[in-house]
Subunit: 398 residues, 4 copies
């Protein structure tokens, strides 16, 4: 593309806008990954990342994308032919299912309409029926990046417990970690999968498995082949701050900075900010007379908002107009909802005025593309942003 003045608005639901401080942290000389300076760094990030997952258990850091951490969660705990119960929250749940099948696992999908989070009751019911305990794991996406619906993980845990079922609970938090409240320990999750390029404000290239004792125990009898992803090589090396193979050192510099920044803002403030931005975005969508894809208010995401296109116009043409005219990237509808929705990412290193600019770009794009809508979305969002304290805005959003 030719030269575009000013900053690009990267409003896809990840990768997100990487703050200068993280980029600059990454822009230092690579060091010996077997030396004392690295060891100090390794200990710091391995300990720090636990605070983001809100866990006291080990968190594995992979030099890999989030997809790798999906694979790692499965191959470390399961054996060929094991049955995994998954929940169709949207495109990414479907991709995780497809991945499981490639790994010689059997999968079963609880169908969804892509407009709700997972239903704990449906999961509980299926588990209760599985008296033989054929199901070895339940996999749920916390924040479905393709739809903007959040699943109630604590309730899923309760449903599993109520069914008295021994299945492992695995949760994908790739687009919620560091932006939507998530509690690995308190909610009793066995493996949480995370990635670097969303709420953690890093470039892609790191991903995570947060573990439970039960998951570690399961890994001892797991028979799926594994080496790169193998926890049993990671854990002993990590104990000293090192890694069994060469880690992505410069991304770890960035992770170190990002963890520090999240704590400077305060995790609770981070979560409230995302909720507030979700509420302001939905106010804009409502003012435009458009519909948010996620229909259940309690499942609305603070990370992104998917908007249904009205009438006949395709969402991809709108996104192209906005990219060319206003230098803003929005997320596409994927698979089932391709061209039917566009997704506004409002997560990561983001603030009120960036959101106003973002919504302004959408509103002007709707106008230029001739999409049926009412004006006034930006004003409605500003009403939310300006009229409430952060705390009040948060409540309004609930």
């Amino acid at each position: 593309m030719s030269y575009r003045p000013g900053r690009h608005f990267l409003q896809i639901p990840g990768p997100t806008n990487v703050p200068d401080r993280v980029l600059r942290a990454m822009d230092g000389p690579t060091i010996d990954h077997r030396g004392p300076d690295f060891q100090a760094l390794g200990k710091r990030v391995l300990s720090g990342i636990r605070t983001i997952f809100q866990t006291k258990h080990p968190v594995i850091i992979y030099p890999a994308s989030g997809t790798g951490a999906w694979e790692a969660a499965l191959v470390n705990t399961l054996s060929p032919g094991d049955l995994v119960l998954m929940y169709e929250t949207g495109h990414f749940a479907s991709l995780w299912k497809k991945l499981a099948e490639r790994l010689d696992l059997k999968t079963e999908f609880i169908g969804g309409d892509w407009r709700h989070g997972a239903d704990p009751a449906a999961i509980g019911e299926r588990l209760a029926a599985d008296t033989a305990h054929t199901i070895k794991a339940v996999c749920v996406v916390h924040n479905e990046t393709s739809t903007g619906c959040v699943s109630p993980i604590a309730d899923v845990r309760k449903a599993i417990d109520a069914a008295n079922h021994p299945a492992l609970l695995m949760v994908d938090t790739i687009s919620s970690l560091g932006s939507i409240d998530y509690r690995h320990d308190e909610w009793g999750v066995d493996v949480t999968v995370g990635g670097s390029q969303k709420g953690l404000m890093l470039p892609p290239g790191l991903s995570f498995n947060a573990l439970s004792e039960k998951a570690i125990e399961a890994s001892k009898s797991s028979r799926l082949p594994k080496s790169y992803w193998a926890w049993d090589e990671m854990l002993p090396a990590n104990a000293n701050g090192f890694f069994p193979y060469t880690p992505a050192t410069n991304l770890l510099y960035g992770l170190d900075a990002a963890i520090e920044m999240l704590h400077e803002e305060g995790l609770d403030n981070v979560f409230a900010r995302h909720q507030r931005h979700g509420a302001a975005t939905r106010a804009a969508v409502a003012a435009w007379g458009l519909d948010v894809l996620c229909v259940e208010p309690k499942h609305h995401s603070g990370s992104l908002t998917a908007v249904l296109m009205p009438g006949e116009k395709g969402a991809d043409a709108l996104r192209k107009t906005i990219l060319e005219r206003f230098d803003m990237s929005l997320g596409a509808g994927l698979s089932k909802v391709a061209d039917k929705i566009f997704r506004i990412g409002h997560l990561g290193d983001f603030n009120d005025l960036m959101l106003v600019g973002t919504l302004g770009g959408v509103e002007m794009g709707l106008r230029i593309a001739g999409v049926r809508h009412e004006a006034g979305g930006v004003e409605a969002a500003m009403e939310v942003l300006a009229s409430a304290t952060e705390g009040q805005a948060q409540q309004a959003a609930e």
Copy 2:
């Protein structure tokens, strides 16, 4: 200050938002300023900067702020006791006058109300009366950063010529260079003063004197003492791409990148973009029911817009609210208009969505601070930004 998520909105009328590409260009190892690599760089920037001033004559690059280039313009061409005619467009014209007086020059001010650009007729009249040619130089600020009024330099030249007066014409373009059309040669300016931290999108630390043959001739008989600023040491060294003393090498790396970027966008596109953003900003101000300080439409600036506060509330309290609540810096009213206006910078590396965010911050700030205004400013600005092609928007702005 504590941690603030997202990007700061630096909407003072300079320093402006420095693009990543310029920052990264500056972030390289300093090199030998007497070696062949430097020579290639020196030749490139000394030649490139001429294209920005639209001149074929030499441009001096100082390792100094713009204030230094003001001083340089005077000490290279004038002698102790010389009379300089200056025009009171606002605070910076006043500062330049004060500086001239510290240098043992006599000054005379044509008074202004800070709400207009310079009046060529008044200048012509004064020069016509100066039959003894006591006035040695006429100094005008092209874009008065304290008010957002642009002076018609081509007309000032015509007025001088019409008066048949030999005075040198010196123009300050610190906040217009690289954002508002400016033609050193075509408009017959003798010394143009520029700085790095506005339309050139660089950090502060470089400033410029663009010369004419008449100015160079004048410098030969000038008797004000000078060394650091002396053109007669700069020009022969510059001829080979070098400098008489150590230059600010890393800022020159940035200048090299910035010149390239301005040409990638195209100077005409750069100017049109700034005009369009000025028009959109004024549409917002009008919708808020507020007044722009600059009252003459043909003097309206594409670099910044100064807004008069209505009622009793002070502008500085509003700016403080906006900084604390929305992490945006706006320009203060200076001297005569202190606390009575605030200034919105919309120059440099800037685009439509950044402007929407900026105006959104102002509108929400007005609301939170309880300043009397109508809502709808952002919508009005978007109307301008979305309804017109860039070319049409430009015409609308005229």
Copy 3:
């Protein structure tokens, strides 16, 4: 560690000193990995990386360390229980073997003494005996990072062909790619494994599989489970410049710069430089009266030199002295040769004066640590570096 002035000397055999230009390229905003700007980048790096492997066939780029690319080579081409013939050149060959075993492959090792490259005759002999073609792949490390011995890959190919054996040839070039001449197509390799953090001058976090048609064909019937590593998802996405999952965008920025830099220097010049530095280093070792681990001159590496400790003193204590006193990291002896050798990395973004400093640090370290040696190693290395043109030095090194 407390503050150390000057630059750290990172003379382990990788990660290597990352040049500023690569770091700065990586230090840019992450972009939408589904958008047009990314597509242009993707096409550029996917095409450019082929030139480094000297292949016209596809090269897969993983967001992963080199260990991941080892795994990818095996899981894409083989099936559970397949037999792989590997050659014990040193520690990394042993690790690759261990990895294969974790993936449910059978392995057979041709033993080595860690002081030679692989012996093509031994490989040919073993394959000739395998008339049932039980062996599905032959795996050889090109430049064994733990010993500094280079294996003659072209001759291995000839031996396989002479045995008329259908096994795939897989080669690890992690520490030779971009530093020692390597020709994927000409030498008939089926899968070449590479990594980013050595001759490519990048931080760790990217790794590669260069393919052959035969390898792609084999992948169609391979039954090892795979998803993250699956070529069949990578190849169709790569055809358009995209990736099936989020790539490590910022590392790809760096790769783009690194490929450009290797071609600016010229691959032949890059290889000659490394050979010359190997020769100079061995001259220093000889002058010290010490022995190089690799005993076969034609197997000497241009990437690194492993030096045997004389007498009773341990190599690790020497390395510690050198790190603390001179801020230089050297490679440790691994496994069998732990504490018996130290390794000097002289690969990547490196030049004559950096090598002189490196060897000076070793020589002063030997002295301070009280290791039996002769002085004069640095002078001997300078003799090689100064007395010969680059071309002559290259011949001297052969």
Copy 4:
């Protein structure tokens, strides 16, 4: 120049190798120079820079090169026609004299042979003869960058006091500040001139005036015209952490980091390191059978070493050979000693192995250029570097 692998060796006596940490500190967004974040920065650097000059008095920070700070020292304290006594230590003392003359000052030079520091006795004698106190200031260069001779400032102070003369003492520390022990207060200096691009490890673009009460008093009656350099505008603004005109914000970020780094190492350690490197360099020169320009051991510089060329060969051809063959920049002989000497800078962010590489480059250059010399210089330098603890090496150097 075409692509050169590895790091350039920037061994001129300034600008010096800028550490990554300083470059990265500078590579952040420019901020509002009137806002609270800047104020905190301003206070920190204005306070921190005093510790480097070892003064409790104000230090002025100019957005300008060192030449500007020379000018500032004079125009703030003197009046037209005042007589300044200067000491011809070398090229830079001569340039300062020429600058003074351009500013309408009278100058008198105590001649020197460019091979010694200033002689306090000669200064004292001249002042004693000036019973009318016509001399208003004594100007001495602490470390003469063109020769590598250090002048004994404390003794100059004593000589002035012994002569009971009221002249101001002004000292240029451009190439000694942050590398050679310098005590503004203890040694009773009135104006110390410094620059950013040497021991402070910054790019060029900042310079300094450290003041005394007597200097401030003198400024009140000084009649040389001034504005940009005027202390009376700087001091009140600085009192609140601000500047009277736009400061070079990003260079101040770097200064902030550099001050922190100097204190992390410890100023005494910094000084000892430079002395040690001077001693090692002179050991190499002696082993080569060449002569150091500075003949008085107690005047030997820790910042740089100037080496006399033997025989007929010119130093500039040698420097060119070294630049082309080994990518190292050395300092040229200036003016009187042009082509007769070359200067090795060993100041700033520098360590033992960088010095070994530097001296290796010189030794190989001498050999390739066919300059008469003995081999063994690097070995002699390593003897100094390795045989002594830092403390012992320091004593050996005295």
